[in-house]
């Protein structure tokens, strides 16, 4: 029987580096053990891909793969999402609702960003993993769980334990199998096969697009770029190239830290500007705008998934608002109440926007 919810598309784990090959082998050896797994690594390295590969190689593949992001929800909501609730458990609980533990029964429960789980919920999680039982909020009934728990985090949990923000007993209970994914810059060999793979995927999506393979010069630049956003950032770069139709330009647009800008090394600034000119002409302002939005894209295998007009409107408005708020705040020396008067919004709204857009004073 094919389960509807089980449409989790399986992305192959692309890579030829020693670490990726070892991870593949490890996945193969542990996928039928049902032992708790902890996957660690920076954002965008492929933790979720590894979790999905564990699932698709296991006998549980005919059951559900249920994901919950422990960083995205406030504590009370996260708790009811995990365990479900009974009608009347709290105001607004109009009927019974089952939680992720129930939905993942006999399948996989993927606890993403476990390092951000509030301490109180960590205790409860520990208790559930220990006893193999849980009860929905407001219910007396104990349910037996049969889930394979795979957890992931970009935190260093050893440090979190030292700071007492992560429970040691929960750490050891999750850390039965540990899969550590190194950042992309530490496994540069994986970059060319990843580029090839995603070019192929995006091309099949838009067969009419002209897709240019990067020449060896660009490949070596891409291989040596540090990719702070890891594979996710590399994906966005490839998408962007498909819009800009210029690898040179796409690469130059990548954020560079001082000293990492390979195009500047050995060339004086004028020479670089001249070199950039033909590209500037080729890339008109429309593709420029679209490529900026691709930069903000978070979806993986769809080239244009994030580009709905509504979303773009919001992104564009946010971007302008952010710039204007920052400008005004700097002008008034970060006197927020003056700024709110100038901008004609309430003080509270301004504070909310400062935090939403993550606006900070400019430090010289």
């Amino acid at each position: 029987m094919i389960n509807i919810k089980n449409k989790t598309k399986s992305i192959p784990l692309i890579g030829v580096s020693k670490s990726i090959l070892k991870i593949k082998e490890l996945i193969h050896h542990v996928s039928d053990t049902c032992l708790n797994v902890l996957i660690t690594g920076e954002t965008g390295v492929g933790k979720e891909v590894v979790a999905q590969n564990l699932y698709t190689e296991s006998a549980r593949v005919s059951q559900n793969f249920v994901k919950i992001n422990c960083a995205a929800l406030p504590e009370t909501l996260l708790e009811s999402e995990l365990y479900g609730y009974e009608k009347g458990a709290f105001t607004g609980a109009h009927r019974n609702r089952s939680g992720k533990f129930q939905m993942a029964d006999k399948g996989v429960l993927f606890l993403d960003e476990i390092g951000d789980m509030p301490l109180a919920l960590q205790s409860k999680m520990l208790h559930v993993l220990q006893s193999g039982e849980f009860s929905p909020l407001g219910s007396e009934q104990e349910f037996k769980t049969d889930v394979w728990v795979i957890a992931a985090t970009n935190h260093n949990l050893e440090q979190s334990m030292a700071k007492k923000t992560f429970r040691e007993d929960l750490f050891y209970r999750l850390n039965i199998i540990k899969i550590e994914i190194p950042p992309l810059r530490k496994r540069k060999e994986d970059i060319p096969p990843l580029i090839e793979y995603y070019l192929k995927i995006y091309r099949s999506e838009y067969p009419n697009n002209r897709v240019e393979k990067p020449n060896s010069d660009i490949v070596s630049k891409l291989v040596n770029y540090p990719w702070p956003g890891n594979v996710r950032q590399l994906q966005n770069c490839i998408k962007k190239q498909m819009i800009m139709q210029s690898w040179e330009k796409t690469f130059n647009d990548l954020p560079k830290e001082n000293g990492q800008d390979s195009t500047i090394v050995g060339t004086d600034k004028n020479a670089m500007e001249i070199q950039e000119l033909p590209d500037k002409k080729a890339v008109n302002s429309t593709t420029q705008i679209i490529s900026e939005f691709v930069d903000l894209s978070t979806s993986s295998d769809k080239l244009f998934e994030d580009i709905s007009l509504k979303k773009i409107k919001k992104m564009a408005a946010d971007k302008v608002e952010k710039e204007v708020i920052f400008f005004v705040l700097e002008k008034v020396g970060w006197n927020r109440s003056r700024a709110s008067k100038i901008l004609k919004v309430s003080y509270k709204t301004l504070l909310y926007k400062i935090s939403e857009f993550n606006i900070h004073p400019h430090i010289e």
């Binding site: 050896h29 750490f171 050891y172 039965i176 199998i177 540990k178």
Partner: protein, 134 residues
């Protein structure tokens, strides 16, 4: 006692591994070593039913000692298992829960652990002699 007893020793600390190796070798055991749980699982798959006893550290990369114990209990239920840890109570408690025959805390007295191995293997031989194979 014609055959030597076969031990699999697993620790990610190379010094401990070689110390144990030398010691048990000199005490007339046949010893193989692995530097983490994953290496151990591969060794075991290569040589099923070869080892009499597993001595494993608990906190290790890839497959932890606790993971290794669970796998061994399931796949090779005849093997005796000794867990050792230097990381406080948590991993030790999990090793007991995974049904290690014995959990020791580091630093470990080599003669004491040899004693335990010998004891465990006697009980193993006794239970095996009833349903003799090789």
């Amino acid at each position: 006692m014609a055959e030597l007893n076969r031990l699999l020793i697993v620790d990610d600390n190379q010094d401990i591994l070689s110390t144990f190796y030398e010691f048990f070798n000199s005490m007339n055991y046949e010893v193989k070593t692995a530097s983490d749980g994953f290496a151990a699982v591969k060794l075991l798959k290569d040589k099923p039913n070869f080892f009499d006893c597993l001595i494993t550290d608990l906190v290790m990369p890839n497959i932890s000692g606790v993971g290794l114990i669970s796998i061994v209990k399931k796949e090779y239920p005849d093997m005796k298992i000794i867990a050792m840890t230097g990381y406080g109570d948590q991993p030790g408690a999990l090793a007991s829960e995974a049904e290690a025959d014995c959990v020791l805390f580091k630093p470990i007295d080599l003669f004491k652990i040899e004693n335990i191995v010998a004891q465990l293997l006697i009980t193993k031989d006794n239970s095996n002699s009833k349903q003799t194979d090789d």
